[in-house]
């Protein structure tokens, strides 16, 4: 027996009525109970400050059960309908048709109109002028660091450093004494021990023939070049694996960096503490356009 159901607003292609199903009713009731219990479990678990595993699981179960139950409820409540609808096709050459507004200008004043549009454009662009207020002009912030002639090297804790404080084959992160944690001024102090120093290492800037200082800011993307391999005296940046040869003026030996780490002119003052002999002479850190 076929029935034709009247649905004037929907052009139905096929329709299936769900049969009565106690199994489905049980699923819906069961889901509802589980969802309710889980919801209460979530609330109680949170109130009692149990672990996230407890109330989080309750939340997850509640949401999943509720979703399941709602779907089972609806699939049994409504017929499964497939319908069609015509599309709005806009094919063929485009015809603009009637103008949008009914009121049209009485004359053409294109010069005046263009003048106003031009002025609007200029004024609009000028509204960008507050943008430079967002930050200071770079000035020499990218070309000069805080190192000067006579600036002592200090640890992050602020202690000045003597030449024998770094273990042989060891490294230390140091800062200018008046600019600790100033990112562009970070320096890595390396004690290479027996290794032969080669050009382009500047030997005037080396202490005791074994202590060198290089900028710690990687010339690729600016991460701290913090790893040191004792065996081949390599400074290694963990971000993109740029590698620099510490006994050869920190020239790049591998990786995406194109420039050597600048060497800090290192010296010793009268009291035996390590000092800088001046600022870096090369560009510190990554290139800027």
């Amino acid at each position: 027996m076929s029935e034709r159901l009247e649905r004037p607003q929907l052009k139905v292609v096929s329709e299936e009525t769900p049969p009565p199903s106690q199994a489905n009713d049980a699923l819906v009731i069961g889901s509802a109970i589980i969802a309710a219990l889980a919801g209460m479990g979530f609330a109680v678990g949170l109130a009692l400050q149990t672990s996230i595993a407890v109330y989080g699981t309750a939340l997850a179960i509640g949401l999943l059960a509720l979703g399941f139950g709602i779907r089972r409820f609806f699939t049994d409540l409504y017929p499964e309908v497939e319908a069609v609808e015509p599309r709005d096709l806009r094919e063929g050459p485009y015809q603009p048709g009637e103008t949008i507004s009914a009121v049209q200008p009485v004359q053409r004043r294109s010069v005046l109109r263009n003048a106003l549009i031009g002025a609007g454009g200029v004024f609009g662009l000028s509204l960008l002028s507050p943008v430079p207020s967002l930050g200071p002009s770079p000035g020499d912030a990218l070309t000069r660091t805080a190192w000067r002639r006579g600036t002592r090297l200090v640890t992050t804790a602020g202690q000045p450093i003597r030449a024998d404080q770094v273990a042989t084959g060891g490294v230390a992160t140091v800062w200018p004494e008046n600019a600790i944690n100033d990112e562009i001024s970070a320096v890595i102090l390396v004690r290479v021990g027996d290794a032969q120093l080669e050009p382009p290492t500047n030997l005037d800037w080396v202490v005791n023939n074994e202590l060198l200082a290089y900028s710690k800011v990687c010339t690729h993307a600016g991460c701290p070049v913090a790893l040191f391999r004792e065996r081949d005296n390599a400074l290694f940046c963990p971000c993109h694996q740029s590698t620099f040869d510490a006994v050869r003026g920190a020239v790049p030996t591998f990786g995406p960096t194109a420039r050597a780490l600048p060497q800090l002119p290192l010296g010793i003052d009268d009291e035996g503490f390590l000092v800088a002999q001046g600022d870096f002479v090369e560009q510190v850190g990554p290139a800027y356009g």
Binding site: R4, V12, V13, P19, A23, P86, R87, Q165, E230, F236
Partner: protein, 316 residues
């Protein structure tokens, strides 16, 4: 006494077999009790020695080991590469020399102790490769080897004492000195040119302290002015805190974005599977007692689908 076959009490019992059976049972019982007693003694001994070992490792790691045992172990496991006199020899199967242990100031008791503790030596596979590692010796044997090499090669006795530390300060010191090689949570990483930095959050305080002072292999050393003894204890306390961090129910603690991406993929797959279910035609579970066929109604205007439609024309 009824057998299972249910013999009546009137039938004569099989006396001899029963007596033998009883005697046998009694003999077994006696033997059994001896077995139990011996087993208990063995178990007790095992537990006692285990307890004793546990006490030993948590106590003085600087306990002097048995030199004779050390000599024996050294000649078994170390001499073939490092030579019996510690001068270093060509590693069998390669053309490279193992480093000398004697006559080098950087080789100290702490260094020996460290490589044995971490299983770096004796090598598990390639002796020149950092990985994999396998701890070959327990505390007693390790102390023995260290004691023998200290005596034979005149190594400096410098196994550190590590004070109790504060994990908070340890995180600060660790992040400043160790994280760049070993990762922010001590999971290890690479240092380029085939050098791999090990996972350090498994290591106890002595191991950590030895590594810091010795700077084994490619690792730089940190003197007392760079990392003080108290700071070493702090770092060890931090690593222990990381070790004991309570993970999720599947044991995950902190996820590096690379491993997190695997789980994102799993979440996306789970989501897609549920999309299959949600968009599918619902299955119905009709009641069996009333096998009513679901109505399927097909209106007559289905031929609308292929004929020129009555849409509103080509223009919008």
């Amino acid at each position: 006494m009824r057998t299972r076959a249910g013999r009546s009490p009137d039938s004569p019992p099989v006396e001899r077999t029963t007596t033998n059976a009883i005697a046998a049972r009694q003999a077994y019982r006696r033997l059994g009790s001896w077995v139990v007693l011996v087993a208990a003694v063995i178990a007790l001994a095992a537990w006692w020695s285990a307890r004793a070992t546990a006490q030993e490792s948590s106590e003085e790691a600087r306990q002097i080991g048995d030199v004779d045992l050390g000599a024996q172990l050294y000649s078994q496991a170390c001499a073939q590469c490092h030579a019996a006199d510690g001068s270093g020899a060509v590693v069998p199967g390669t053309d490279r020399r193992a480093p000398a242990l004697a006559g080098r100031p950087e080789i100290t008791a702490a260094y020996m102790d460290l490589v044995l503790r971490t299983g770096r030596m004796p090598p598990a596979e390639d002796p020149f490769d950092n990985q994999p590692r396998r701890v070959a010796y327990g505390d007693e044997e390790r102390q023995a080897i260290v004691a023998w090499t200290v005596q034979q090669f005149g190594l400096q006795q410098n196994i550190p004492e590590v004070p109790e530390g504060n994990a908070g300060n340890g995180q600060r010191v660790y992040a400043a000195n160790c994280a760049q090689c070993h990762g922010s949570t001590g999971a290890g990483g690479v240092a380029g040119a085939g050098a791999w930095t090990p996972n350090v959050n498994e290591y106890d305080a002595i191991t950590v302290a030895e590594a810091i002072r010795v700077g084994p292999f490619q690792m730089p050393a940190f003197g007392p002015e760079q990392i003080t003894d108290q700071e070493m204890g702090d770092v060890a306390a931090f690593l222990e805190e990381v070790r004991h961090e309570e993970g999720t129910p599947i044991g995950l603690v902190e996820l590096n974005p690379v491993f997190a991406s695997g789980f994102v993929a799993l979440l996306a797959i789970a989501m897609i599977l549920s999309l299959f279910w949600i968009s599918a035609k619902p299955t119905w579970f009709p009641d069996p007692e009333r096998p009513e066929e679901p109505h399927k109604v097909n209106p007559d205007d289905v031929d609308d689908l292929t004929e020129p439609s009555t849409d509103r024309g080509g223009q919008g």
